[in-house]
């Protein structure tokens, strides 16, 4: 424990290498498993890669959306505040599955025919919008946790509002928001399974297909569950190491 806390950089590196090895190497041991797992090993691996891609893309876009909307909710400009409140209200108040279906079925009707997007992109957009709304509240809480006195001190020193935000507010608010953001990311790994509803061949979809062909749901779904657990463990290890890197909770350690 002590070593991992003191060397967060190495832990992040190890978790990332572990994740990559797992994603591209898991087909080899899985292939040795008995029916119905062994023959479908490559499909499991492919499904896991799609799940991780979906999580990483929508997760990153979701953080950016969260920062923008979180700032917008604290803006002095009322229409911007209303817009961001509306966004969070809309997304949190409707089911994720509906949002995914909406982006998949309704948005193509709005867009011109030349601008059609793939199923995967639809899922990524819907998931990013969804997690972005939840991230908004985390980011807002993080920004509010930065003492106003530090903002005043920065402004009194002549830093511009933008410099004050980038140098003083953002780094400290991220420290506060990170545990909650990590929580949302762990949810996202699993929420990405809803993409199966719009025929994105991610991990859950793979499991559904294989059990439908083999009539053996128990080993198939246990394998899927195991892969999800390994993925979420890798992600939480990464975010926990990132928290150590950014020294979340330094105050508590040093005061004790």
């Amino acid at each position: 424990m002590k070593w991992t806390r003191k060397n967060p950089g190495w832990v992040m590196f190890a978790a990332m290498i572990g994740l990559l090895l797992f994603l591209w190497g898991m087909a080899i041991p899985l292939a040795a498993a008995p029916d119905p797992i062994g023959p479908a090993a490559k499909q499991f691996a492919e499904g896991a890669r799609v799940t991780v891609w979906l999580t990483l893309i929508s997760g990153s876009v979701g953080v950016v959306l969260g920062v923008i909307a979180g700032l917008g909710k604290l803006s002095a400009f009322a229409p911007l505040r209303w817009l961001c409140n509306f966004y969070v209200w809309l997304i949190r108040g409707t089911p994720l599955l509906l949002q995914i279906l909406f982006v998949w079925l309704a948005v193509p009707q709005i867009l011109p025919d030349s601008l059609q997007i793939s199923d995967f992109a639809c899922a990524a957009i819907a998931l990013a919008l969804n997690i972005g709304a939840y991230n908004t509240e985390c980011v807002r809480a993080g920004i509010l946790a930065v003492p106003q006195g530090q903002v005043e001190a920065a402004r009194a020193l002549g830093l511009s509002p933008f410099q004050t935000f980038m140098d003083i507010v953002l780094p400290q608010s991220m420290r506060v928001a990170l545990p909650a953001l990590a929580n949302n990311l762990a949810s996202l790994v699993k929420d990405s399974s809803l993409a199966y509803a719009i025929s994105v061949v991610e991990l859950t979809m793979v499991g559904y297909r294989i059990q439908a062909e083999s009539y053996q749901p128990i080993p198939v779904f246990l394998t899927i569950a195991m892969i999800y657990l390994i993925l979420t463990t890798a992600f939480t290890t990464l975010t926990a190491a990132l928290e150590n890197q950014l020294d979340v909770g330094r105050k508590r350690q040093e005061n004790s």
Partner: protein
Amino acid sequence: MDTHQANLRPLIEAQKVSKHFGSFHALKEVSATFYEGQVTAIIGPSGSGKSTFLRTLNRLETHDSGSIRVDGIELNDDLKNLDAIRREVGMVFQSFNLFSHLTILRNVALAPIRVRKTSPAEAEAKAMALLERVGLADQAHKYPVQLSGGQQQRVAIARALAMDPKVLLFDEPTSALDPEMVNEVLAVMRELAHTGITMLVVTHEMGFAREVADRIIFFDNGVILEDTTPEALFTQPAHERTKAFLSQVKHGF
């Protein structure tokens, strides 16, 4: 009222400055001029407007009416003026307000790097020299939370000095400190006062005000009641209100 510094250059000119917080009239047409090199102590009871007045001078509070000129620049909604003024006016806060995610050295070097575009190496060398001056060079690589209150306030002073301000505003710099740490901060301020920098100090430290200040202002109820020399104020206060205040705070020292 204030004629005793006529040969000096005026640095801050406040004319009929008023400020409301809701229905509370915090400043009532306050006028005062502060001259280059002058150390002014601002005293008065809580809620008398002394901190608010100080905070209007670099626009941490906006004033409702009246005018404030700093080094000839009008303080208004023009952001260019504001940036120019804030570069020249340093401020030290009651609660230090150090940037808690940055090292002590970085706290001091940040503003010169960002605002004056000094190179990081140069800014850090200067920050180190300033930390040396306030006796904290050995703490440069620690974080604010690892320092005592008195040390943090000395860092805050070094941070304000890093911008080479023409004026330093102190907003009750020792009020949040444990008694045994007050002196280390006052010692740094005393040393500063002797260098000839212009200082405005809102304080409850009457001993310090009397010893270091060239001029003392007594605030009460949003107006300046007395504006004179420390000697005159402490020996022959002109108003009953001042006498009452002084007899109250005298128990403290």
